[in-house]
Symmetry: C2
Subunit: 595 residues, 2 copies
């Protein structure tokens, strides 16, 4: 199992040299007090916790998995103890509102800690990540009474939370969900129905679990316009806000699945469970989208963090394993063979992993800053721009980073040869754990429809232009730097092409709405490669000055060149494929798919 080591040099570079985190923090109302010292302390303590406490749990978690019984779900050895340490360290309160005891730090900073936690042990991090997302939702949408009742204990980590959307017959299609809520005289509701795929629906790590449940109030309109959101606790709080009576919600079973075996994926039965409306009636989806957007960015992080972990394992192996001689002459003449890392194709795989992880890190951190700005900036125009841009970029980050993260994790196995397939090495677990990321929180196909259908076509290209203008401006500003020339000229060319391709698709879609779905995934991947090209150009610009004397900065420029030379050409195939249109997808009658 690879022992995780937090890539602090790169994290610092992205935060400080590329994204000017200090300036960013200073622009946020009520979140501006992040000193350089505090930032460094958070990074170093987060790294220590992830490396020393969580990383050793990752393989144990996979081997033991969760165990269901009538009495509840037992998490693997060490999970509960690690959580106690986490809660004692104050981590659950990091980005929580000060009103309920939170530290009020920016989400973009919380995300950096989550990256480290996730690389070390994704399955463990799901319990805490979803709990914090649930708390953020309640901070924004719940009544003051509910907030005062639930948020203090969710903030200090005593209680956790879940999101309950999926039902057996509906995943992507929430409009057809059936869970019912009947109003009681006291203003509460009785919630009845079955939810599946509920991560952390039941476990032994926290004292109470606060479920956020989508359900239909009796008599509500059909479809997505009749869905409300309810808070349904496992234990109802007593008058002192300690856990009291057990509520009518229980875990019927947990799923056996490909990976993230240490994360309990629960079937949750709500049997007239007492629930409390969060936000307005029939506006539950809007509130849930809040949580879903943060969960989407969190899932993007899974692609990055798994890719990083896989890269670390593969790099170590490639340096140590001796196999074959370099085609350009022995590099380790004293040994029986050369280390794997001398071979060009092994380098291609490692550099693909490196370029994707570092590019995705910069990309996700940037999107997280935009979300910060939307929530906390005092500048209205900045808020509005940040909202549009983060809405455009969230589906790209979610789908592109998980899809390419999966490629990266597979390369990590591939570097190990046959050993990559053996569980002991831990490389195959990374692939299995990560494989869920293109499925949950909206599949890649759903993200792609959201991007092309809603965000791009739905705004007449306006949201896209917010981004292409930023790229255009960046290219103009850096056009005269000879060190950056190869990046800037290619980026400018692709940025222009992005607009043209979008126009062409728009014209096709006017004739035939299926053209949107037919092009969508190619369009999303195309957009992802350009987005990362922008991040790599920004990183190259930040590295160019000092690169002569600093190996780290020099490696940044080399990795940028690798990205532009060897990965960015993929835009070309996606472009050709999507412009060939929907006909060859739609012509075949359903019966003719197989005989």
């Amino acid at each position: 199992m690879p022992q995780y080591k937090a890539p602090l040099r790169d994290i610092n570079f992205v935060l400080k040299n590329v994204l000017n985190a200090n300036e960013h923090f200073a622009s946020l109302a009520g979140r501006e007090e992040v000193s350089e010292d505090l930032l460094d302390a958070i990074l170093s303590e987060g790294a220590k916790f992830s490396e020393n406490v969580l990383s050793p749990l990752n393989q144990v978690g996979d081997q033991e998995g969760c165990v269901w019984s009538e009495g509840g779900v037992k998490t693997p050895t060490g999970f509960k103890e690690a959580y106690q340490q986490f809660a004692e360290g104050g981590w659950p309160s990091m980005t929580a509102d000060a009103r309920f005891g939170g530290q009020g730090l920016p989400n973009s900073l919380g995300l950096v800690v989550t990256e480290m936690v996730s690389s070390a042990c994704w399955a463990w991090g799901m319990y805490t990540g979803l709990s914090q997302s649930a708390a953020r939702l309640l901070e924004n949408y719940a009544s003051e009474d509910l907030q005062n009742e639930y948020l203090p204990k969710m903030t200090d980590g005593t209680w956790g939370g879940t999101m309950c959307l999926t039902e057996p017959h509906c995943g992507s299609d929430l409009g057809i969900l059936r869970t019912k809520a009947e109003a009681n005289a006291d203003g509460s509701y009785n919630v009845t129905g079955t939810k599946i795929f509920i991560s952390g629906g039941e476990h032994d790590m926290m004292e109470n679990i606060i479920h956020l449940v989508l359900a239909r109030i009796d008599g509500a309109p059909a479809g997505t316009k009749g869905i409300s959101l309810f808070l349904v606790p496992k234990f109802l709080p007593d008058a002192d806000n300690n856990i009291g009576e057990r509520n009518g919600v229980s875990c019927g079973s947990i799923e056996h699945k490909m990976g993230i075996k240490a994360s309990a994926t629960c079937v949750m039965n709500f049997d007239g469970a007492k629930g409390f409306l969060v936000g307005e009636e029939n506006r539950g989806l809007q509130a849930m989208f809040h949580m879903m957007n943060s969960a989407r960015l969190g899932t993007a992080l899974q692609g990055l963090s798994a890719g990083e972990a896989s890269f670390q394992g593969a790099l170590e192996y490639a340096r140590e394993r001796l196999q074959m001689r370099s085609l350009s002459g022995p590099k380790n003449p004293e040994g029986p063979a050369d280390p794997l890392i001398v071979h060009p194709d092994v380098r291609r795989m490692l550099l693909t992993q490196k370029a994707l992880a570092e590019g995705s890190r910069a990309f996700i951190y940037w999107v997280a800053q935009l979300v910060d700005t939307f929530y906390f900036s005092g500048d209205e125009q900045a808020r509005k721009d940040a909202e549009e841009l983060s809405e455009l970029l969230t589906p790209i980050a979610k789908a592109f980073v998980t899809e390419t993260g999966l490629e990266s994790a597979n390369y990590g196995m591939q570097v190990f040869g046959g050993h990559g397939y053996i569980s002991e090495w831990g490389m195959e677990q990374i692939v299995r754990d990560l494989r869920i990321s293109t499925l949950y929180e909206g599949t890649t196909g759903i993200q792609a429809l959201d991007l092309l259908g809603r965000k791009v076509m739905g705004t007449g290209g306006k949201q896209l232009m917010v981004f292409t203008k930023i790229i255009h401006k960046f290219c103009e500003e850096n056009a005269s730097n000879p060190e950056l020339e190869p990046f800037i000229s290619k980026l400018a060319e692709l940025n222009k092409e992005w607009g043209e391709v979008t126009m062409k698709l728009g014209e096709k879609a006017m004739q035939n709405p299926d053209e949107v779905g037919a092009a969508s995934v190619d369009y999303l991947m195309y957009s992802g490669y350009i987005s990362l090209a922008y991040m790599w150009a920004r990183m190259a610009a930040a590295a160019a000055d000092g690169a002569a004397d600093d190996e780290f900065l020099k490696a940044k420029l080399q990795t940028a060149k690798f990205y532009y030379d060897r990965l960015l050409p993929r835009t070309e195939s996606h472009k050709l494929s999507m412009l060939n249109g929907a006909d060859s997808l739609m012509e075949m009658p359903e019966e003719a798919f197989a005989f």
Copy 2:
């Protein structure tokens, strides 16, 4: 778990309409007696056995896995019984030499049965597939005495076989292997060493296991020129060729791995085990390459068969699962939602699976015919051409079909959404089982070096030209058919480009040998897409005539169009990436990969 259904209509189409199997069989000396009736009987019996006996074992095999004890390895419930049925049905003898009781049928026909077996339960098929490969090697390389002693029982399936290459410190790099062989006075050898990753090294399905072991005779030259091949049986035969004394070979443990859990992957300890030289001293690799080539084509088949199984599962689900409305209006207005298959992106995934499975089937069957021709044709020139072409195409088939098969299997999961991740559905098992295929029998990187370094550059492009000439001729012959025009013009263009790209890489490689490794995997994938484009054009040509009245043939043309529109553009990115050369791979010093 998807219930496998053999795609007999497509298998028949490829054999009869595309590859003229009857003519082909008639051209093989001693293998010509395959009547249409016999062919049909074999296909239908093979389908029945695979569907009814093997398919139900697939999930059981994954859940139970193999169990090791001092006494041996227990295979999952039903594996042994299924093998008894297989042996009683005469299947192990199908392609074996008549001298030892075999039916002497062509290997290309055996491969069709293997495809069905593999789709139904790959892990089970590994025991029989490797056993048959071992028998074929002995038929070609062992002394008459050894053949008479071992082949009758290997032919009737009483005994099985393995190939023992890998050692803990060497996988791809066989030149550094350490297993030793000391000559005894009676002409036998004592073999000592440890082999790992030995599939079927120990199990309870057959009475005896005949290991084919690479080892170094005392005093042999270093490197690959000092490796010999030995037959080392688990039980030494007695004077009547029944099993006698236990030999000094034992299974020390089995590996825990990502998938193919029902296939025992063994650590084999040879402790002065009695072995018998197969073929000449120090020429062991040449003989083993025989087995490895057939194992490579067999592994290509794994990509196809898993892709087919995944396609079948995904298609069924896409027809039944109701989720969301079609963007172009409801297609199932009476129901709560439309079936998944109406959505363009779901169709894109299904058609990708279909186009890859059917294209790969035609491709692998064709390569298998070439191998037949090389072994059994009476026409010397035909044999020589077939040898060159099959050598060129084997690494393409192995790496391209497994890599794209993995993409296909992942799409199969993706169509299921979150359910794809749940073990019960069986879709994730297909991905886990298949994942080994790009690793064993030579990784994708090794295949790519074999293709570009040895087969293409190593023959000055001669082997490639055998193929490009065939494609050129095909394009000329079909240029005037308007129905085929879109395929032919694109294929001809790419065929020309293939030669040009190869020339450019050759020039670069003269300056820097690392250019070969740097381009190799992109080159292999590029070659694979063109190879499949050729197969799809041949299928379109075979289908064009009758397509007006036959839905199956019409679907062939539609799938060909899909392949050309949506998958073939991938050549473009691979071309651009590889032509950007080795610099961005080789410049970074090893220390700078991470800080």
